[in-house]
Symmetry: C2
């Protein structure tokens, strides 16, 4: 199937939001998506955006049964690693199920990797759920290392009340 990968603009956000909701729903974590449409749009498409995104676009004749031509997206931002230097985090990565198997995911991922190399990064990092075997296999087949399995890294979150409590413990220096 013919498709194009391009950087997203604000005009694409309606489609990106639809894909992000689909992804969260697929991961059974829609309840964790606490930000609103307006918030994510502002974070992504203001003067100092918190993330950038690629979208995958199919020609009109291949549009989805609901009429969509934007069928995949990859959202990423800069991070840092004291040991390895500047890096890119791939935060969201999704292709609509009916458009899988055509190399769209691979093309989205390659474009993010190319951006990372162009920025001088030596690391592209992402998080994947352990039951999401198709995704784990997809990344492993392309040479990714699961450093949770290999080295034992766990992801630790402070949020809500635990973050509030920590912040309030600050001593008055």
């Amino acid at each position: 199937m013919n498709f194009a990968i391009r950087l997203a603009t604000k005009a694409d956000f309606k489609d990106i939001w639809r894909l992000l909701k689909d992804l969260a729903s697929h991961l059974k974590m829609l309840d964790q998506m606490t930000q609103t449409y307006e918030e994510v749009q502002r974070h992504g498409f203001s003067q100092n955006p918190c993330f950038e995104s690629f979208v995958a676009v199919v020609p009109d004749e291949h549009k989805s049964k609901e009429g969509f031509t934007i069928v995949g997206c990859a959202l990423y931002f800069d991070i840092y690693d004291v040991w390895k230097g500047q890096a890119v985090c791939l935060d969201q990565f999704y292709v609509m199920p009916e458009f899988r198997g055509f190399g769209i995911g691979k093309a989205l991922l390659s474009n993010v990797a190319k951006v990372a190399k162009e920025k001088g990064c030596s690391l592209l990092q992402l998080n994947v759920l352990d039951w999401n075997t198709p995704s784990l296999d997809f990344f492993a087949a392309r040479g990714a290392q699961d450093i949770t399995v290999k080295e034992g890294w766990h992801v630790i979150n402070f949020d809500g009340q635990s973050l509030e409590r920590l912040a309030n413990e600050t001593r008055q220096n």
Copy 2:
């Protein structure tokens, strides 16, 4: 023991580097620290720094046996989470062994949490090695959630050759 927590300046970098090397050595991962002193210094203390840091300073009369007064540090930077919004990542966090048990780690962590709240973040995230029970316990005691255990999140890295290969797969659109 009396101590102060303050934002680091370039003049502190020599001490920060010593602490980062100590931490990597403690984690038995000194070989993964591929960046040079000059690179990390430039990334942290240039016009658009990749990270900020707090240092913990003890008075001269409590200096370490080698004569150091900067005895701990916490390095952090902004990240993003489409589900939860703007967030802070705590990348490096260390207190010299002989200065543990005085609340210095807690004070460093609280200061980073306070910065996160002031930035309007609802999430402070970090990675910890699964064998590092003292650290895991330290964070758990303060209400952190291990989302690798709780939800199954794994950390996936593309670096070196795998990143290079991915980037070169980009189609010419």
